[in-house]
C-alpha cells in the first residue's frame, strides 16, 4: 500500500476508535489516541510504535472485519511500524534475505581467510582447545566485530534522535532519569503487552518474548564479563564452566533458543528472529563443542553471525525496541 494510503487508512480506522474508546483499559495507545482527535502522521507513527501488538483490541472490536467499518489496528500499526523501521535509519534501503545470506557467506569466507593468514592453520586450535585466539587473534577479532558494531550503534543513535525529534521535539527531555526509570521498567516487563490484565491474545507470546529478551541480555552480560576478565583481570579464555561468561552465556543462549523458537511457533519468523536463532545456536554449539575439532569452524561461524547481525541490525526488526522505548518515554512524559 502506498504510504499516503496507509496513513489515510490508519486515520480512518482511528477515527472510529476515537468515537468508541472501549479499548481504553487495554494499553496506553488508546488514552494517547484520545489526546489526538485529528492524528497527524507523526501521531500515528508514535501510536504504532507504542503498540506492543497484543491483539486484545482487535478481538474486542465489534467493528473488526468482516464488519463494514473494518477496524483492525494491530495490522495497520504493524504496517506503519515497517515504515518507521525504514524511514529513520540510514541508508533507508534494507538488504533482503538473499543479500543477508550472501553477506553472511562472504563474512564466513573473509574470517576463514583471516584465520589462515594470522595463524597459518585452517581453523586449528591445536595447543589450547577452546581458545578463540588460536582461531583468530584478539585484535583482528575485535576489528571484525567492532566495525559493524560501532556502525550499528551510530545508526541507532541517529535514528533515535530523528524519531524523538519527530514524535516529541525537545531533546532535553531525553535526559529525564525518573521518567526513564518508569519507561525502562515498563519496557523490560513488556507491561503494555498485558492488555490491562486480559493477557496477550496469543497465549505465551509475551512470555516467550521476555525469555528471548532476557536471554539476549545475559549474552550481553557474558560478553562484557569476558572482556573484563581478560582486559582487567588478565585472565585469558577459555573460561571454566563455572565462570560468569560461561554460565551467563550458556543460560542466555538457551533462553534465546527457547524464547525465539516459542515466538517463531506462535507468530511466524521474521528475518530478525532467524538471525537471533542462528546467533544463539552457533554460540551454544561453540560452547558445547569447544573441546573438539569442531570448535574452530563453529567459532568462525558464530563470529560471522555476530558480524552479520551487527551489520544488518539497523535494517531489521531489531530496531523495534529503540522506537518502542522512545514512544513509551514520550507517553510517560505526556501524561
Amino acid at each position: 500500500m502506498p504510504l499516503d494510503d496507509l496513513f489515510d487508512e490508519a486515520r480512518r480506522q482511528l477515527t472510529v476508535c476515537n468515537s468508541c474508546r472501549y479499548c481504553a483499559g487495554y494499553c496506553p495507545v488508546w488514552p494517547a489516541l484520545e489526546l489526538r482527535p485529528a492524528p497527524e502522521r507523526r501521531d500515528i507513527t508514535h501510536l504504532a510504535n507504542l503498540c506492543h501488538d497484543c491483539g486484545d483490541c482487535l478481538s474486542a472490536c465489534m467493528y473488526a472485519p468482516p464488519h463494514e467499518f473494518a477496524v483492525a489496528p494491530p495490522s495497520v500499526f504493524a504496517d506503519v511500524r515497517k515504515d518507521t523501521y525504514r524511514r529513520y535509519v540510514w541508508p533507508r534501503r534494507a538488504p533482503g534475505r538473499l543479500g543477508t545470506g550472501i553477506a553472511f557467506a562472504a563474512v564466513c569466507l573473509v574470517l576463514a581467510l583471516l584465520s589462515r593468514l594470522f595463524t597459518g592453520r585452517w581453523f586449528g586450535a591445536a595447543d589450547r582447545p577452546g581458545d578463540p585466539y588460536e582461531v583468530l587473534p584478539h585484535v583482528p577479532l575485535l576489528i571484525a566485530v567492532g566495525v559493524p558494531g560501532v556502525w550499528a550503534l551510530a545508526v541507532f543513535g541517529w535514528a533515535a534522535l530523528r524519531y524523538w525529534r519527530d514524535i516529541h521535539g525537545r531533546l532535553a527531555d531525553l535526559f529525564r532519569p525518573r521518567a526513564w526509570r518508569t519507561t525502562f521498567v515498563q519496557a523490560v516487563q513488556l507491561r503494555h503487552m498485558e492488555g490491562g490484565g486480559a493477557g496477550c491474545e496469543v497465549p505465551g507470546r509475551r512470555g516467550f518474548h521476555l525469555v528471548l529478551l532476557y536471554g539476549f541480555g545475559l549474552c550481553a552480560v557474558s560478553t562484557t564479563a569476558a572482556a573484563l576478565l581478560q582486559n582487567v583481570l588478565g585472565a585469558q579464555p577459555p573460561y571454566s564452566w563455572v565462570s560468569v561468561p560461561v554460565i551467563s552465556g550458556g543460560v542466555g543462549g538457551i533462553a534465546m533458543l527457547v524464547g525465539g523458537t516459542g515466538l517463531w511457533v506462535r507468530g511466524g519468523g521474521s528475518g530478525f528472529l532467524w538471525s537471533l536463532l542462528v546467533l544463539a545456536a552457533t554460540g551454544m554449539l561453540t560452547l558445547l563443542l569447544r573441546e573438539t575439532v569442531a570448535f574452530g569452524p563453529l567459532l568462525l561461524l558464530h563470529v560471522a553471525a555476530v558480524v552479520t547481525a551487527f551489520g544488518t541490525a539497523p535494517y531489521s526488526k531489531f530496531v523495534h525496541w529503540i522506537f518502542r522505548m522512545l514512544s513509551i518515554h514520550h507517553d510517560n512524559l505526556e501524561r
Binding site: 477515527t15 472501549y22 483499559g25 484520545e34 478481538s59 465489534m62 463494514e68 486480559a198
Partner: protein, 462 residues
C-alpha cells in the same frame, strides 16, 4: 447427545444462562443465529453493567446502595412494570460482578473517561464483545455445545411444554428445558412498522440485523403473556450517514446541546438544552423519529468545535449558515431565519451569568422562543459553521414476555409454560416498562440468565 437445556440466543443473557445451567450439571446446547464473528447480539455493543454495591473498589469509585439503585430504577420512564421482580433484580445484582469475574470477565479500572458512571457502573475491559468472548471461552471449557449460524424458526409444543426447536436449516432439536434469550425485535423494521408506519423505514438499528424477534413472536403466538410497552423502543440520535444496522456506539452524535437542531424544513422542534446526560442522550432518538423523514440536523459553530467527540464521518462545514444548509440539501433561507431567531432569543435571554460549561446545566437560556433552549444557549455566529445529519438509532425494544420470579414464561391464561424460561431483553419489559438506565440491560440479562439457567437445569435434571 441429548440436550437438557437448550438456550436460544447468543448474547449476554444467553451465555449467562448456558454457563449457569452448565454449572448446575446440565448438558447445554446454545443456538446462536449469527456467524461466530458477529456473535453476541446487542451485548457486543455494550460497555458496562450497573450493580448495587456497598463500597467502592478498584472498578467503581464509591458505594451504590441497593436502595439508590431501586430509586434510580423507579425514576426512569413509568417505573418498573413488576415491582417484585425489579426488587429481586436489584437484590441479585449485588453478587453479579463476582459471578462474572469467576466466569472469565475482566474489568477496566475506574477512569475519568467513564461518562460520569464510574461510581454506579462497572466497565468491561474492552467492552461487551470482549466480555462475550470470555464467556464463550468459558462455555466451551464447561462443555456447552455452541452452534453458530443457527436460526430458530419455530418452537414445537405439546400442550404447555416446548418439546423442540426447529431451525432454518431444517433440523429438529429436542430438549428437556428451553431458555429463550434471543433479544427483542428492534431489527425487524416490518414489525416496528406496525406501530410506526412508513417512519420505521427511516430508522437505523444500532445492533446487528439478526434481532428480528422471531422467537418472541413464537412465544406470543403460543400464548405467552406480554410485558413492556408494545410500541416502545429506546433510541438515540445517530449519524444518518452510518450503516442501517450494527453501527453501535461509534455513530452516535454528541453535538446536540452545543448548538441547535433543525428538521428537514429547517425549523427547530425541540429544546436542545433540556436536562443532562444520559436522559437527554436517550430522548433525541424518539424526537427525530417523530419528525418528517425521520431526519434532523445538528448545527454548531466554530466557538464549540472541538469540545465534543468528533462525528465519525466528520461534520459538514461552510462559511455561512445558508451555504451550510444548502450543502445539506436544506432551504438556506429557512435555516438562516431559524438561526437568526435563535440568536435574537439568546440576546433576549440577557448576558450570560456563567461561563459556557457542559459539566452541568448552566442556565444560559433563550427568552421568547418556542421551543426554548433552556441551557447552553449561545449565539451561532462564528464561522465556519458545522452540521451533521441525524437519524433515530434504535437500541432495543421493550415488548417481551412476562415471567415469574423463577424466570418461567407466563401465559395469558394465568398459568406458566412447563419448561420454558426467559432471560434478557426478551423479558426486560417486566422490569423496565419504558425509559433507560445505563448499564441496566446487562444487569437484567445477567441476573435473569443466572436464574433461568439454574431453573432450566433444575427442571431438566429433576
Amino acid at each position: 447427545m441429548s440436550t437438557d437445556v437448550l438456550v436460544v440466543g447468543g448474547g449476554n443473557a444467553a451465555l449467562v444462562s448456558a454457563l449457569s445451567a452448565a454449572d448446575a450439571g446440565a448438558r447445554v446446547r446454545l443456538l446462536e443465529r449469527a456467524p461466530a464473528h458477529f456473535r453476541g447480539g446487542n451485548s457486543r455493543h455494550t460497555r458496562n453493567i450497573r450493580c448495587a454495591h456497598d463500597t467502592g473498589d478498584e472498578f467503581t469509585t464509591g458505594p451504590y446502595p441497593g436502595a439508590e439503585l431501586r430509586r434510580d430504577l423507579g425514576g426512569v420512564g413509568d417505573g418498573p412494570s413488576d415491582e417484585r421482580l425489579a426488587e429481586l433484580t436489584v437484590r441479585e445484582s449485588r453478587s453479579v460482578p463476582a459471578w462474572m469475574t469467576a466466569h472469565g470477565a475482566h474489568w477496566q479500572p475506574a477512569l475519568s473517561g467513564t461518562l460520569n458512571l464510574a461510581r454506579t457502573n462497572r466497565f468491561f475491559l474492552g467492552g461487551g464483545k470482549a466480555l462475550l468472548n470470555s464467556y464463550y471461552r468459558t462455555a466451551e471449557r464447561a462443555g456447552v455445545t455452541v452452534e453458530y449460524d443457527t436460526q430458530v424458526t419455530r418452537l414445537e409444543w405439546t400442550g404447555e411444554t416446548c418439546t423442540a426447536a426447529h431451525t432454518a436449516d431444517g433440523r429438529r432439536i429436542p430438549a428437556a428445558s428451553v431458555v429463550c434469550a434471543s433479544g427483542g425485535f428492534e431489527a425487524n423494521l416490518a414489525w416496528l412498522g406496525r406501530y410506526w408506519g412508513e417512519a420505521a423505514q427511516g430508522f437505523h438499528v444500532r445492533g446487528p440485523s439478526y434481532n428480528d424477534g422471531r422467537v418472541l413472536r413464537e412465544l406470543l403466538d403460543a400464548g405467552a403473556q406480554r410485558a413492556g410497552e408494545e410500541r416502545g423502543f429506546h433510541a438515540v440520535a445517530v449519524d444518518a450517514r452510518g450503516p442501517r444496522y450494527d453501527g453501535g456506539i461509534a455513530t452516535r452524535i454528541d453535538a446536540i446541546p452545543f448548538g441547535i437542531v433543525v428538521d428537514r424544513d429547517g425549523r427547530r422542534f425541540h429544546d436542545e438544552g433540556e436536562d443532562i446526560w444520559p436522559k437527554r442522550y436517550a430522548s433525541w432518538g424518539r424526537n427525530i423519529a417523530l419528525r418528517p423523514g425521520q431526519i434532523a440536523y445538528a448545527l454548531w459553530d466554530a466557538k464549540v468545535q472541538g469540545s465534543f467527540l468528533p462525528p465519525m464521518y466528520g461534520p459538514y462545514t461552510a462559511g455561512s449558515v445558508e451555504e451550510l444548509a444548502e450543502t445539506l440539501g436544506l432551504d438556506g433561507r429557512a435555516v438562516a431565519e431559524t438561526v437568526g431567531a435563535f440568536n435574537t432569543a439568546v440576546d433576549r435571554g440577557g448576558p450570560p451569568s456563567r461561563t459556557f460549561t457542559m459539566s452541568r446545566p448552566d442556565g444560559r437560556r433563550t427568552a421568547g422562543l418556542d421551543p426554548p433552549k433552556s441551557n447552553w444557549a449561545q449565539r451561532l455566529d462564528t464561522p465556519p459553521y458545522y452540521a451533521v445529519p441525524m437519524r433515530p438509532g434504535v437500541t432495543f425494544t421493550y415488548l417481551g414476555v412476562a415471567v415469574t420470579d423463577r424466570a418461567r414464561v407466563r401465559r395469558v391464561d394465568g398459568g406458566v409454560f412447563g419448561n420454558v424460561f426467559a432471560a434478557g431483553e426478551i423479558m426486560s419489559g417486566n422490569i423496565l416498562s419504558t425509559g433507560y438506565l445505563a448499564g441496566f440491560g446487562m444487569t437484567i440479562g445477567t441476573v435473569w440468565g443466572r436464574i433461568a439457567g439454574r431453573e432450566a437445569a433444575r427442571h431438566a435434571l429433576g
